[in-house]
């Protein structure tokens, strides 16, 4: 086994992160070297944390070098733990106390207009992600992490799920492709992750494998709540099997399409117009609707082109998608604004909801608008349109009071 290991990031341009180099030795106790840009303010706390972790793993002789670019404690703890566990065999996890505000669950029908991808080994991009209020935040262990950094990223992602406030957004993780991704589940399932993205999904059996592993972990840790799944279809085979995948398990709440890999698989190029993926997108939407889950579109990768993004969102919405991925916080507002219901949709929804309230006030069992009867699912959908309109600022919270007054 190695006796020296380096974990983490350092150098120019690295912020809110650190690099740790650990060497296990046979004598002379703990030699701790801290080189931190915040040393005069946090030097003692850094030293305390480092010694606490080494003691936790019963390491008595070691040289530990911490090169710190202002890492928050949960990041530094992840780095040091990853280094230790590379050198000694242990199942023990060093966990800082879970933030109370991270204990929420999300509901199946929740809005999923936007989900922001964050590379799992780049803490600086995670720290402020929640303040931009996407519907979901994806801590990515898959394509956004270099192969040789995947090991250390799992610790950062795990700690972020525990110790970073995401301000109420749905907390998602994209695991690696099954079977490798199954190991990722050990890190994230016990940390109240809300939704797991299963990339490059090509069969229902992959979903079953994920769920079996989740169940095992849940039993082991006595976890109760729901963990939702969002498979990502990224190949021709996946598109063909999309309905099987969408209906593979009751906790599959949405299914996404990933167009970079899909177009590569087809042997074609991805264009902004998207003619090459029209079939696949329609097929995914169709499979999702048949299965009663949310169809979610691919990301738009030109972060500087807001007009292109807007057109893409409108095209996506017209195809039947309920949301899409994003890779930059500035894309969130454009996605929300354009997935949000349009004025005529809102007006129609208002009429239906009003009719529902009036029927309820009068004690009528049946809701009708003019001469037309309205079924309960229609009312439910109208109410959702209203909720979204309020959330996106297109309608006031108290719209009924205001309109009744006038």
């Amino acid at each position: 086994m190695d006796t020296t290991i380096s974990i983490g990031n350092k150098g120019k341009g690295v912020r809110s992160d650190c690099s740790v180099t650990l060497t296990l030795t046979n004598k002379n106790g703990i030699d701790l070297q801290i080189d931190s840009k915040v040393k005069s303010l946090f030097g003692k706390q850094i030293e305390q944390l480092a010694r606490q972790i080494l003691a936790f793993y019963e390491i008595e002789n070691a040289i530990l070098l911490v090169e710190d670019s202002g890492a928050l404690p949960f990041v530094m703890a992840a780095r040091i733990e990853a280094a230790v566990r590379k050198l000694i065999t242990t199942e023990k996890e060093f966990l800082l106390p879970m933030l109370e505000q991270n204990l929420y669950q999300t509901v199946r029908e929740r809005n999923r207009f936007s989900r922001l991808y964050l590379p799992g080994n780049t803490p600086s991009l995670m720290i402020n992600a929640g303040i931009h209020h996407p519907d979901g935040i994806i801590l990515d262990l898959e394509d956004a992490v270099a192969p040789d950094k995947k090991y250390e990223a799992s610790f950062v992602v795990r700690n972020a799920l525990r110790n970073l406030d995401f301000y109420g957004t749905e907390r998602m993780v994209r695991i690696n492709q099954v079977p490798r991704g199954l190991e990722d589940l050990d890190y994230i399932v016990p940390q109240n992750v809300n939704l797991i993205l299963v990339p490059k999904c090509e069969s229902a059996s992959q979903i079953h494998q994920v769920n079996e592993r989740i169940e095992t972990i849940k039993v082991k840790h006595g976890i109760k709540g729901n963990i939702w799944l969002m498979p990502i279809i990224e190949s021709a085979l996946g598109v063909i099997r999309s309905y099987d995948i969408a209906t593979a398990a009751p906790n599959v709440v949405a299914m996404a399409i990933g167009l970079e890999d899909y177009t590569a698989d087809l042997g074609t190029k991805r264009t902004n117009e998207g003619n090459e993926s029209f079939f696949a997108r329609s097929q995914v939407v169709n499979a999702c609707r048949a299965a009663g889950i949310q169809p979610i579109d691919s990301v738009f990768s030109d972060v500087g082109d807001m007009e292109g993004l807007k057109n893409n969102v409108l095209r996506s919405k017209s195809l039947g998608f309920d949301g899409m991925g994003c890779i930059h916080p500035r894309q969130i507002k454009v996605i929300h604004d354009n997935f949000a219901p349009e004025t005529d949709e809102i007006e129609k929804a208002k009429k239906i909801v009003n009719a529902f309230f009036e029927a309820t006030e009068r004690g009528l069992g049946v809701v009708s608008l003019g001469t037309k009867m309205i079924d309960p699912p229609v009312v439910k959908r109208a109410q959702r349109t209203i909720d979204v309109a309020i959330k996106t600022g297109k309608l006031k919270q108290n719209w009924r009071e205001e309109e009744h007054v006038s």
């Binding site: 005069s40 402020n128 500035r330």
Partner: protein, 517 residues
């Protein structure tokens, strides 16, 4: 050190004597009223100057010698060329070559391009700096290596100090993009065009000797004459006064950072909801990506509503120029030009006016422009629970920035500081700031990405935002939130040696910078 210290009105320990001159501790906003008369330079006679108006001497060295350069001379320079300045270092190279010691440098601001001056601070050529000590010079000062005590002043405070005779400048060297042999000079044209030369106004009026250095000599008359030749003793023609591409400041693009854009958006929404943005309002947003973005949001709001601003105070830049040319603002009252669009606009647009620290900021005058501005957007390295703010030192105690026009701008009707709640791991809201540059009573609003704190003194603003969906919090809540994320930082450690003082706009001392351990 044998210096005596006294607590000022903010409870900060400040020296009663700096570099042999007695000082007045800060007494509160508007409390200290000077008496007596302004400083006046010696009376000159035309008999001593060439009747043909040709004041050209062969070199800067000749000019400095003719100006009476000696041990202990007080020499000023200006930051119109920002990081592209080529003159300040030359002055001290010459002084060093001639063997003079204990000079005092009075720049209107220092930049990294002048960091080589540390060697003259070390060898005793320069005794101390009065102005600003940025970057390497600041670090040098913080380490206690400067022979004398540094003095930091705002742009307005610099005018005040020169006008009042707090600092008497022996030789002013004004680097000018265009000048004539008589000494008339302008900054709005020439290969090193920088816009205006307002920071040199006080020096031209009050220095004992004035040298104009230019790389673009034109026959008399040089128009416009931003600097009047009638104040000038000698003119020097050099190969190059400044590096044009470095004159444009690095912070003149709107930010691409999503976090800063969010800050800008929240700030603009705040100004909108409080009614600060109205037809005929005025604003000042400095350099820096966030401030520039706020200007862009202001423009959007004005355009949508069919309104316009009466004036904007610059730092002018291409975004402000666009607003002017689009008719969204009547006037730019410009204190310094941040990019070449600003320089062009100053030449071409009647509504683009150049101002100086005298008109804009001088506190010992009959009013100034700064207090008439509806809203000003500024930065800070730290803010404390009393809304006192710091712009010069970092939380580790090291001096790294100058004050600029920051203190002067605090007198606007609403001062907003949009700042991140923490930088890397360093929380921005502290129990007590490391160095007080501005008293909390003048700072109205702190906008962070995680919440907005309004100074409790501004009950009017608090009332207006009662039903807002903006995240209004107390400053204590913001501090707690930042510390929950970062941890509570230790205090930096200082020795008992004062290395620099921070002057308030009226010349009193508001705080002391201490040597770091």
């Amino acid at each position: 050190m044998s210096a005596k210290f006294e607590k000022n009105a903010l409870g900060r320990l400040v020296p009663t004597e700096v570099n042999g001159k007695s000082q007045i501790p800060y007494q509160g906003v508007g409390k200290y009223k000077p008496t007596g008369r302004k400083y006046a330079p010696p009376i000159a006679s035309c008999a001593d100057y060439p009747a043909d108006g040709n004041k050209i001497v062969p070199s800067l060295k000749d000019a400095l010698i003719k100006s009476g350069l000696r041990d202990g001379s007080v020499i000023s320079s200006h930051h119109h060329f920002r990081n592209g300045d080529l003159i300040a270092v030359q002055i001290f190279d010459i002084a060093h070559e001639l063997g003079f010691k204990d000079l005092v440098w009075v720049p209107s601001a220092s930049f990294e391009c002048q960091s080589s001056l540390t060697k003259y601070l070390e060898d005793g050529t320069i005794h101390h700096i009065e102005g600003s000590m940025n970057g390497s010079l600041g670090r040098f000062t913080s380490e206690g290596k400067m022979k004398g005590m540094g003095i930091l002043r705002s742009h307005g405070g610099r005018y005040q100090a020169i006008q009042d005779g707090d600092v008497v400048i022996d030789i002013a060297v004004i680097a000018a993009p265009t000048a004539d042999p008589f000494g008339n000079a302008t900054g709005d044209r020439g290969p090193a065009a920088c816009g205006l030369l307002g920071f040199a106004l006080a020096d031209s009026q009050y220095a004992n000797k004035v040298i104009v250095a230019t790389d673009n000599l034109v026959p008399f008359p040089c128009v416009p004459w931003q600097i009047h030749g009638n104040y000038v003793d000698y003119v020097v023609v050099v190969d190059q006064v400044g590096i044009p591409e470095k004159i444009v400041s690095g912070t003149t693009e709107i930010t691409k950072s999503p976090d800063r854009l969010l800050l800008a958006e929240m700030t603009a929404q705040f100004c909108d909801e409080t009614g600060i943005i109205h037809d005929g309002f005025s604003f000042q947003a400095g350099a820096g990506g966030t401030a520039l973005s706020i200007g862009v949001y202001f423009a959007e709001i004005l355009r949508e509503r069919g309104m316009k601003a009466r004036f904007a105070r610059g730092g002018s830049n291409k975004y402000l120029v666009k607003m002017l040319e689009e008719g969204l603002v009547d006037y730019i009252l410009d204190g310094q030009t941040f990019d070449l669009e600003g320089v062009r606009s100053m030449r071409e647009n009647e509504g683009h006016l150049n101002t100086s620290p005298f008109t804009s900021y001088n506190y010992h005058g009959k009013g100034n422009f700064a207090s008439q501005v509806d809203v000003v957007i500024l930065g800070a390295t730290e803010v404390d629970l009393n809304f006192n703010a710091n712009v010069v030192t970092h939380s580790d105690g090291v001096l790294l920035h100058g004050i600029g026009g920051w203190q002067n701008c605090l007198f606007s009707k609403c001062t907003i500081l949009p700042i991140p709640l923490f930088r890397d791991r360093i929380p921005v809201i502290r129990d007590e700031v490391t160095t007080i540059c501005g008293p909390g009573e003048l700072i109205d609003v702190i906008v962070t990405e995680r919440g907005i704190a309004i100074n409790p003194l501004r009950t009017d603003l608090i009332e207006k935002l009662k039903n807002s969906n903006l995240p209004i919090k107390t400053i204590q809540q913001l501090k707690d939130e930042g510390e929950a994320i970062c941890g509570v930082p230790e205090k930096p450690k200082f020795t008992d040696k004062a290395v620099a003082v921070i002057k308030w706009v009226d010349g009193t001392i508001i705080d002391t910078v201490w040597e770091v351990e």
